[in-house]
Symmetry: C2
């Protein structure tokens, strides 16, 4: 039997993904939200954790949030993410958290089942439709500083607040904002935030 | 038998919701993405359409998009939406599209099944946990003009572009932006966009 843990913050989608995987007789499926993820991981010791990259809370978890960090998860358990090529930033976060499996959210249920089997054996599984997303992720033009300025601006912080928060001058924050806007081909700051958020970078 | 059609733009989640509902023996379940929704509605004549309010494409459909418009759908078929109290704007769009069923996305699978039965009988079903969202929706402070200015700004349009698009002067657009920002209690334009997008208004 392969022990599968579905982690998702939305109750109904968690139940639905569980129902889908329970139709596989060789899978022993459990599910949890993010708050109790760590406990479930410790008590169940799943072979594979299935995570939706677009689900609220996933990015925080992958970057080392409540569940002890995605990298911690990825080191001990086969991490499998449901992803989309349109969000290269999210793909990169999953990669940095050592995910083994990358399944396109538009794939068939059969592909997800095959991917789970692969990851349970410690092998990598990457949907070829996600390849373009990985390519985009490798060409990410923004620096970490530009990204953190954009992320704070996206939360509604003013230039002065961002400057205080990152120990920079107002002028430097404006420069980062301008270079980020130019690099992603945006028309203005709001457009730069829209583009980077859409791609899963901030 | 109750004929249920699951409409969702994300393949795997569509399959998962279908698997969940197929465990009910009295349901005859089909699924479709948005592109082929109209054909499926016409050929299957479902009793109930299940729609995820947060799924890309849903808002467009509810406001009269490709599938002939949500109101058209709601008039002929029992429309049931999977919703969240945190997005009152999306709830209002569903209400205007004459949805009969409103199920909290964090509800149990059993509640969704009960809601589908109700809606199939032509009755209304509203999860009580969504009540606060409906209250928020009824207190929406922004005018249609302020919302359309914000929506265009969120797409990255400049003040001048918005002014041209809506046949207004630049000063009037600035005034709408300022009043919208003040009314939603935002710190600046970007914050106003963040707040209204998060609530499902734009």
């Amino acid at each position: 039997m392969t022990k599968v843990l579905v982690l998702h913050s939305v109750g109904l989608l968690r139940s639905a993904l569980t129902a889908l995987l329970r139709s596989e007789e060789s899978f022993d499926v459990a599910a949890s939200g993010w708050c109790t993820a760590q406990q479930h991981v410790e008590s169940l010791r799943p072979d594979v954790c299935v995570v939706d990259l677009d689900c609220p809370g996933t990015a925080t978890m992958l970057e080392g949030g409540p569940a002890g960090g995605g990298a911690a998860l990825g080191r001990h358990i086969g991490l499998l993410v449901l992803a989309s090529a349109a969000r290269p930033g999210a793909l990169r976060k999953a990669f940095e958290a050592r995910a083994l499996g990358y399944v396109d959210k538009d794939a068939s249920a059969g592909r997800l089942v095959r991917a789970i089997r692969k990851v349970a054996e410690g092998e990598r599984f990457v949907d070829e439709s996600l390849a373009f997303g990985f390519l985009e992720a490798s060409r990410m033009p923004l620096t970490a500083r530009e990204l953190s300025v954009l992320a704070r601006a996206a939360e509604g912080e003013s230039i002065a607040e961002i400057a205080r928060g990152l120990h920079l001058s107002n002028g430097t924050v404006r420069n980062y904002m301008a270079s980020a806007t130019r690099k992603v081909g945006a028309r203005n700051r709001i457009d730069a935030i829209r583009i980077t958020q859409g791609a899963g970078w901030v």
